[in-house]
Symmetry: C2
Subunit: 181 residues, 2 copies
DNA sequence: ACCTGAACACCGTTCAAGT
DNA sequence: ACCTGAACACCGTTCAAGT
């Protein structure tokens, strides 16, 4: 059985989640897949092309996919906000990939730009939900920022072994960010 | 002029801030310092020993140093909480080092344990300030968690180029976490 | 006390040759 | 269409030898 590009991307995803970008190495990946490293270059131009494919597949999962899921599951703005908080409860592998990508962005301007787009999309989504649930525009902006930073913080926290937040925590966070002035 | 261990640690710090753990490489560091890589092994047993020295120096700066600074500058619990929020406004290099260390912790159990200790210390400090400013114990715990996650989130955010939060943001965050029930 | 220089291992990349 | 195998460059590590 010969391999396709997807097999390499999948293996790369696992390596990324457990060891960061620099753990995505052609030779160990090849060994894990049972081929020689030379064969990698049939599927990709170089290691960078593999990393690009990994990022592209993550971009889809990490924004559109989440927003669609939350929108499909819940009706009202408040219910959607609550639903979004539960998304943080995703399996640690997801959090570890997100975190690894953020570090990667810290040292690669191109990745940084792509990450920024995703952050803008997500934060806008939160802000719109807050406005839709009755907050004044400027206040909604600040509150969206707070909520979004908590989410990023939790990704980071969970990714290095911290316990995921519990229901009481999410309840309190929800109460705070949706509180009317 | 010959070098001391501190010169290598300082160079390693810069590499860590700009490129993560894996950018801390003996050969480029040696080149930057104007010596051959062989001379590195006079000062350190191996690359791991250098990384350990880097982490130890960061541990001091990142907890005790910050808490002492805040305590020295401000008197009341509320003023100290506010002062702590301003610490996030530290230069981006500091945030980038913190972030790089967190990623590092994501793949290294020993680093993870040392990081966890620091997180416990910092979160306890926030919780105590909240209790001292009149919040009930359980609520203080939840609010401390929220505040601490926002801080971690902001480190992450700033480290990949996001704008640091402004005064209005910190004001609102302060209001929320200190609000009496 | 601190550094050089040569050696070796590991992994990214290339490429001619195989099936 | 997909893979092997050998080659070369880069960097971590060792160590005998230099000053």
């Amino acid at each position: 059985m010969s391999l396709g590009a997807e097999d390499w991307v999948e293996a790369a995803n696992e390596a990324l989640a457990s060891g960061g970008v620099d753990a995505v190495r052609v030779e160990p990946l090849a060994e894990g897949l049972g081929v020689t490293k030379g064969s990698f270059y049939w599927h990709f131009a170089d290691r960078g092309a593999l990393l690009d494919a990994v990022l592209t597949s993550w971009e889809r999962r990490a924004t559109a996919a989440i927003i669609e899921l939350v929108d499909a599951r819940h009706e009202t703005p408040r219910a959607r906000l609550k639903g979004l908080l539960d998304v943080t409860q995703m399996p640690a592998a997801g959090a570890r990939i997100e975190h690894a990508i953020r570090v990667w962005g810290a040292r690669d301007a191109a990745i940084q730009r792509r990450l920024a787009k995703i952050d803008v999309t997500r934060e806008r989504y939160v802000r719109e939900l807050l406005v839709a649930s009755g907050l004044e525009k400027t206040l909604a902006e600040t509150r969206a920022r707070i909520l979004y930073l908590v989410l990023i913080g939790e990704f980071t926290w969970v990714s290095h072994g911290g316990a995921a937040s519990n229901a009481a925590f999410r309840e309190e966070l929800f109460t705070l960010v949706t509180a009317k002035r």
